[in-house]
Amino acid sequence: MSKFQFPESIRSRPVYGTLQAHPGKSHLMIADSEGAEAILDLAQRKNGLMVNSHIIFIPKGTDFGKSLQALNPAQYYEGPSYPAALTRIQRVLADAAMGLQIYLSGTEGLMGQAQNEAMKAGYDHTAIQTEHRGSVARRMQCVHCKGITEDVIMDPFQCIHCGLNLFVRDHYSRRLAAYQAVCIDAEDPGNVPPSVELYS
């Protein structure tokens, strides 16, 4: 099962929903790994949606690609990583017209970054639908060196850029598409509690 019920949290933490087909001129769907399942569910609920749809999928080792292709979208692209897909996403958004529907599904890191691209293109964040599937790992920004550490699953963790010991906060920035990580042993250097898995 790829769905996870996030515990209730503070107001800046994003809340994800279930993708709903909305009327629109065209439909852009961006998903990674198990996020493909949310697109498959969406397609099943709404006949004919794929005629004007463009799917961008990053499999991350999963094999949903064939099923997505079988939906017969107007355009289908499979990329090896989000950074590899990024310029394509930017190109699609740059030319988009009002009425475009944007659907994001999969990990928080993918949805956050793609949402950010849509915002930069001029879309209000409330106009973008999201559905979480798969890994609950987080994209973290070190508040000290500003470096991003992807796919963080343990708390505390070490910043891959500056090496500080960081704890994971629920405070989330849409603009950075990341949660905030803060030094855990600033007041008592070296005193770092053992790491535990998020939500465990």
Partner: protein, 332 residues
């Protein structure tokens, strides 16, 4: 004027700060619409404002003090003068008739500092304005603001006929390539479906006009997949006349009768009870008042309360809403 209630540290203002003004010019734009210009009595400069802002004009019409909101149509950067355009409403309660028939150059009035409940979304890559009739007024100042800041905009303006096209000449002369005018009586209509199709991502849509037009544009935008956050509308409600009704103000310990041609808010003010307000048009939420007791039917006309709040009858917006029934007691 504004006496702060005891036991409260929060400023309780009954409206935005006021400016004493003199009517400096009255210009008839056509058979329905007249433009009024004001200068400050104290010789100071007016504050600047943002396009889409309104001012509440206070008029002493005999025994009645009228307070009507009007969009500012002067240039937001112009500090010497403020201007409004008023459409004559023969069915209304008299504010516009007072201005059209009684106001004279040289009259002194009080107007409020500008308040904006219909401001531009400055993130927009493009501003698409749709106006119907007198709904052109907020866009006049917004266009002047965007002109100054090199904004990207386009106006589609529907009027009944050539004679009633307020500001058409000015707009089409100065901004020929950004303005398109449609005359109903010539069978011209905005091709909305086509207009909404193909606007670049990041466009914001603004509509101001009669209720039917607002609903038509908002629905078309939703059907075309436009996000709600990109669609803005302003409908100023004027309080409608209605059957007189009785009210008790619990805190003040006063009973009053709301007349056919006055709003509940005006009746409360008539008794000298200060009640907060900003727009007097059911939009800003400032005058929200708790209902202590009621037996009868509410006539909710505001855009502020949620449907469930309207249904349960515990709140009323006295600027535009009324009551029909036996008992109404307010926490005021």
């Amino acid at each position: 004027m504004n006496v702060p209630p005891p036991n409260s540290t929060a400023p309780k203002s009954t409206g935005a700060k006021k400016i004493a003004v003199t009517v400096s010019a009255i210009v008839r734009l056509n058979s329905l619409v007249t433009r009024f210009e004001f200068k400050r009595c104290d010789g100071e400069l007016f504050p600047t404002f943002s396009g889409g802002a309104h001012t509440v004009v206070e008029m002493q019409d005999g025994d009645i003090k009228r307070r009507n909101p009007y969009s500012l149509v002067s240039d937001p950067a112009e500090r010497e003068m403020f201007a409004i355009s008023v459409r004559r409403d023969d069915e209304g309660r008299g504010g516009s008739l007072y201005l059209h028939e009684k106001a004279q150059v040289g009259d002194q009035m009080r107007i409020s500092f500008p308040v904006n409940l219909f401001s531009l979304d400055l993130r927009a890559r493009k501003h698409l304005f749709i106006a119907g009739g007198i709904g052109i007024t907020p866009f006049i100042a917004q266009i002047k603001q965007l002109d100054r800041t090199h904004g990207n905009w386009e106006l589609h303006y529907a009027c009944r006929n050539v004679e009633l096209g307020s500001y058409v000449d000015e707009l089409t002369t100065k901004y020929a390539h950004c303005v398109k005018v449609y005359y109903d009586e010539n069978g011209q209509a905005i091709d909305l479906k086509r207009l909404l199709d193909g606007q670049p991502i990041g466009t914001h849509l603004y509509v101001c006009g009669p209720k039917g037009m607002i609903n038509w544009v908002c629905k078309a935008a939703t059907d075309a997949g436009w996000p709600d956050a990109h669609v803005h509308n302003e409908e100023f409600l004027a309080p409608k006349p209605g059957r007189p009704f009785a009210v008790r103000l619990a805190k003040s310990g006063l009973n009053l009768e709301v007349g056919e041609h006055e709003s509940l808010l005006e009746a409360i003010e008539r008794l000298g009870v200060e009640a907060p307000y900003l727009c007097r048009g059911g939009a800003c939420g400032q005058c929200e008042t708790n209902v202590v007791e009621s037996e009868g039917t509410f006539v909710h006309r505001d855009h502020w309360l949620e449907d469930d709040e309207k249904a349960c009858g515990t709140k009323i917006m006295p600027c535009v809403s009324r009551f029909e029934g036996k008992t109404l007691v307010l926490d005021r």
